[in-house]
Structure formats: structure tokens, C-alpha cells
Symmetry: C2
Subunit: 333 residues, 2 copies
């Protein structure tokens, strides 16, 4: 492979998170699916926000989170995603650029459609229940994918959530095709078991035909292959992609790459809010991989990055990740 | 005194905070005064925001913070402060109303002036350096003060920062006068030593003539009475107000009320970000006082509320304060 300007190009929904605490009874009363992500419309976004406790806002979006963390870990990262030209859009841009991520996507203009937001309720067990209003994200299309940029990134990383906005699906497949044609690798996060359920056939095809590195948690990989047995699902993924990464919460993670299987324990953490754990894991994994580290080191850095994110409210780390950077530099190749 | 609808009416700047970490060298490079609050204009707000690390947004404002915490502790609270009719203004309204605070102020309309924001840089020693763009707050005027509301609150609580926007100064004195005329008490927070320095003569007059309960930290009380000796400053305050409350960070707090002096130790805490510590202390103190608790209990609840806020990023507690509520109920009168 020739050298590239970027290690990682993320393509995903550009979302601002609103995080507040809630009780299990609130989740039930509001008719939400605990632990899952539900798509909502503008009116629902208003009524649900009204029902929420006081919270904090921070930039989010699954692959957006991964990009911010990977850049903080020293990877050279670009991100494509659609915000509106409004306050939250500027907040999103500020945060991802301040993390060191190149973010060239033109904001959606001349429109009343605002920047997307995700209302996240965190229950006392640290689980997050998410309700997403996609807003400007639905306008992301193949026109926003710059072929030169895709060709100049070692890995193009796509989120399953992008299958929800219709024009983004097309952009998604287009980017994957461009990356493969340029001799680069395609990574995919399944994002959410219900998202997989909504688009299972398309996901199966994409995984089999266009994916090199697959990230999924247990529920997602089981949903993809329609089984209750995570090991059977993992075996199915192993047969289809070069690197299958299954995250298992407190049980750690496993990486399956042809003849190689690696298991890594979860890092000990005082869990406050699991939002962003999977995103941070993928960031650590991909940052290590693009710096030439082996799969075990990549899984370890993923676990460490995830531990740093779940100890506070919000999906992105607050403050520098200097300790992790040093850890990465010190680990064997 | 007759019974009132509200225990506490707060009047203050309605601000959304942007919190990010920074190094001491960043503070120096940007020409900021570490630990203080600097007023900035719209252009400076943009350039400073550009220079900040990725952060979180949350509702803020000194007395606004106190009102949200006091309401969470069970006090009946109203707040007056000016936001714009924009996204951040709606975030501010959501958060304070979700905390249970009555917030009747009409948003600023027909204008390009946005909701105020405070850019807060937190250094590794957990100190915060604040830069405030007052935005819509400067439009808060005596017209926004409802005399019936003031008369219906046991304590009207004012923040020193309100002296910075010109029309708010007048509203401030007007509200204090109305409260006294209705037989209610006036509480005042000095807010910031440099704010005191900007308006010292006016503050001295207000403390002497219109204040029943004064909150200040060591730097503020020393600035007010132009001395380096905090005990001399405290004695001067004791001679002028019914209850003088001096917060001293890790050294705890002292309450001086005529012949009574109370000292209370700080609560042990894992300090992450001291933003909002003084606001939370005042909230605990006033919530206890309006529920008929004595000064020692009030100081203790103040210390506990402060400890809960400094253990995470942002000025308001995340999640319920049930433990503190129970503590309050269990403490002697």
C-alpha cells in the first residue's frame, strides 16, 4: 500500500448528545426501549426533551466519537457528516476540530432542518437509552463523499446508523466501493441490534462483500446472523471478514482474524455511563492498528480507551489521553 | 412573616457554560486571568471558543446554578434571568425547569443577540478560568422584576455578576428594595473578586443598606473591604449584615451572625472541577435555612452540596441529590 495522508476517515451521523439521568420507571413510562436507540421525529424530540431531567450537551455520533478519540490518541483522522449551520452544528464542528480531526463537510444551508441530536437517558445501572432525531444528517449524500479523500485514508470507517437516513445508505456503499478500489480497507460498526434488524439483508451483503474490519457487540452480531449463540455468530463473521471484533462489555473483547483469535479482558473502571464505550474501543483499536500494532495490542488499547469514557457522563473523553498515548508508545508492536 | 409561595427567588445572569480542560500554559498564552472571570465581547467569544479543547455544554450562571440545586434539594424556587429565543436559551430553560424551578422571564425577542455563554477552562489543579460573553443578559432590566413575585419569596438572592450589565444593576437594587419593603430577606453573592473591584463602592453600599445574608469566598470578602486579612474582612461583614457566610475552599466555611460564629469543615471530595462549588454551597445553605434549620446545619448542607458538584465537570449536579435530601431531613433543626 502507498502512504496516505490520513490513517482513518470516518463517515457517520453528526449528532449532538443531550445526556441526563433517569430511572427505569421513566424509560418505561416514556415507552422507550431500554439500552437501545430509537429514531424520533422533530415533534417527539421536543416532547421527550421536555420530559428529561437537566443534562449536559456534548458532541456525539458513533463514528464521530471514534474519530475524536482516535485523533486524541495520535491517529491522523478525517470525518464526513452533515450538520446544520446553527449553534449545535458549530458546537459539533468545534469539538471535532479541537480534537484534531479534519472535518470538510459543508453544513446544510438554506433550510429549517437543525443539527441532529440524541437524547440519552442514563439509568442507575449506567446503561444508556437513546432517542435520535436525525435532523440535518438525512441530507448527507454521495455528493458529500470526496473520492480523493477516501483514497487518501488507510481505513474508511462507517457506522451502521448511517443506514437509517436514506441518501446516506447510498453514500455509504459508494465510499466503501471507492476505498476498496483505491486498495484501502473498510471498517464497519454495526451500531445497534435494532438498526441491524431494520436493515439486516443489506448489512449481510455489505459485511460479506465490502467489509475488512467489523465491530459489533454481542447483541449486534447475534442480530446480524439471527442466532442466540454469540460464538456461532462470531464464527460466521470470522468466515466473512478479515478482522471481526466482538466487544462483550465487562466480559472483555475477542478478535477473530482468520486463523488467529485473541481475547482481551475489560479494563477495570468505575462505570458511570456506558455511552460511547464501543465507539472509544473502536478508536483505540483502529489507532493502534494503523500505527502497525498487532491485534492484541489493538484490543488492549481499545479496552483502555473505553474504560476512560465510561467513567463520566458523555461519550467522549474529557481532558487529554496522554496516559493512553504513552501506553500505546510503550506496547510491543 | 406571612407564608410565601416560594422559599427562594434567584435573580441572575442566564448563561450556558462550555467546559473544557486546559493547561496552565494555555491560560497564559490566551492572556486570561487564572481562576477569575473575564467579560468578553462577541468577537472574543468566537476566537476564544476556537482556541478551546473539545468540551461539554451545560446550563450555568451563578445564581441559576444555586436555584437548580436548591430546587433539587426540595426548596420552592423561582428564577429571573434573560435568555434569547435560540437553542442555548431553550437548553437553559429546559434545565432549570426540569430541576423544578419556576422561570417566568420572557426571552429576548426580535434581536440578533444570542443567549449568554461562559467559556470555562479547567486546569489540572481543578481551578476554573472563566470568560463570559453576556449576550442577552444585558437586556435584563427592572421591567423583568415582578413585584408580586418578589413579595412572595422568603429570600431574594442576587449575584454580584449582575452588576456588570448596566440595566441589570438597576433591576438588582429595585428587587432588593421590593423584598425589604415586603418584609422578606435579601441574600447576595459577591461572585468574583474582580467583579467586586469593578463595582466596589456600589457593593459596599448594597451590603450595608440592603443585604441580610452575604455569601463570599476569601478573595471576594478581602476585595470588598480592601484588606489582605480574611478575618478582618469577615469581622467587617459581620458588623454590616445579619448573616455573613465566608467559604474557604478546602479550609471549610464560617458563618457569622451577630453573636454567633460557626465553622464547618469542607466535605471530603475527589476534586475534578471546582466550577459551581460556591453556587452549590449557597444553594444548600439557603435550602436548609428556608426549611427552618440552624446555621450549622445550613453550612453543613452547603458543604455537602458543594462536594457533590466538584467531583465532575460542570457547575450543576448530574443525577438526583436524594442522599443529600435524606441528610437534610435527618439533621436536627
Amino acid at each position: 500500500m502507498t502512504a496516505t495522508r490520513f490513517d482513518l476517515l470516518g463517515i457517520g451521523n453528526a449528532i449532538v448528545d443531550v445526556v441526563a439521568t433517569a430511572h427505569d420507571s421513566d424509560i418505561a413510562r416514556l415507552g422507550l426501549r431500554k439500552g437501545g436507540m430509537t429514531l424520533i421525529d422533530a415533534a417527539q424530540a421536543v416532547s421527550l426533551y421536555d420530559a428529561m431531567a437537566p443534562g449536559i450537551e456534548s458532541s456525539g455520533g458513533s463514528v464521530g466519537n471514534s474519530c475524536a478519540v482516535a485523533a486524541t490518541l495520535g491517529a491522523r483522522v478525517a470525518f464526513l457528516g452533515k450538520v446544520a449551520d446553527d449553534v449545535l452544528g458549530r458546537v459539533f464542528r468545534h469539538d471535532i476540530e479541537a480534537a484534531g480531526v479534519h472535518f470538510p463537510t459543508t453544513p446544510l444551508g438554506g433550510s429549517e432542518v437543525p443539527t441532529a441530536r440524541c437524547l440519552i437517558m442514563v439509568t442507575p445501572d449506567a446503561q444508556r437509552t437513546m432517542s435520535t432525531y436525525l435532523g440535518a444528517c438525512v441530507a448527507f449524500s454521495a455528493d458529500d463523499v470526496d473520492p480523493a479523500l477516501v483514497a487518501d485514508a488507510a481505513i474508511t470507517y462507517l457506522e451502521g446508523y448511517l443506514f437509517d437516513p436514506e441518501p446516506a445508505q447510498e453514500a455509504f456503499r459508494y465510499a466503501a466501493r471507492l476505498a476498496r478500489q483505491a486498495g484501502r480497507r473498510v471498517a464497519l460498526s454495526l451500531s445497534d441490534p435494532f438498526c441491524v434488524g431494520r436493515h439486516r439483508a443489506a448489512f449481510r451483503e455489505l459485511v460479506r462483500d465490502q467489509t475488512d474490519i467489523l465491530f459489533a457487540n454481542e447483541a449486534e452480531i447475534c442480530s446480524l446472523y439471527e442466532t442466540d449463540d454469540v460464538f456461532a455468530a462470531a464464527a460466521a463473521a470470522r468466515a466473512e471478514v478479515a478482522i471481526a471484533v466482538i466487544t462483550r462489555g465487562a466480559a472483555g473483547s475477542m478478535v477473530l482474524a482468520g486463523p488467529v483469535a485473541v481475547e482481551v479482558a475489560a479494563e477495570p473502571a468505575q462505570v458511570v455511563d456506558t455511552t460511547g464505550a464501543g465507539d472509544a474501543y473502536a478508536a483505540g483499536f483502529l489507532a493502534a492498528l494503523t500505527q502497525g500494532k498487532n491485534l492484541a495490542v489493538a484490543a488492549l488499547l481499545g479496552a483502555r480507551a473505553a474504560a476512560r469514557v465510561i467513567e463520566h457522563y458523555g461519550a467522549r473523553p474529557i481532558g487529554a489521553l496522554d496516559g493512553l498515548n504513552a501506553a500505546l508508545a510503550g506496547l510491543e508492536d
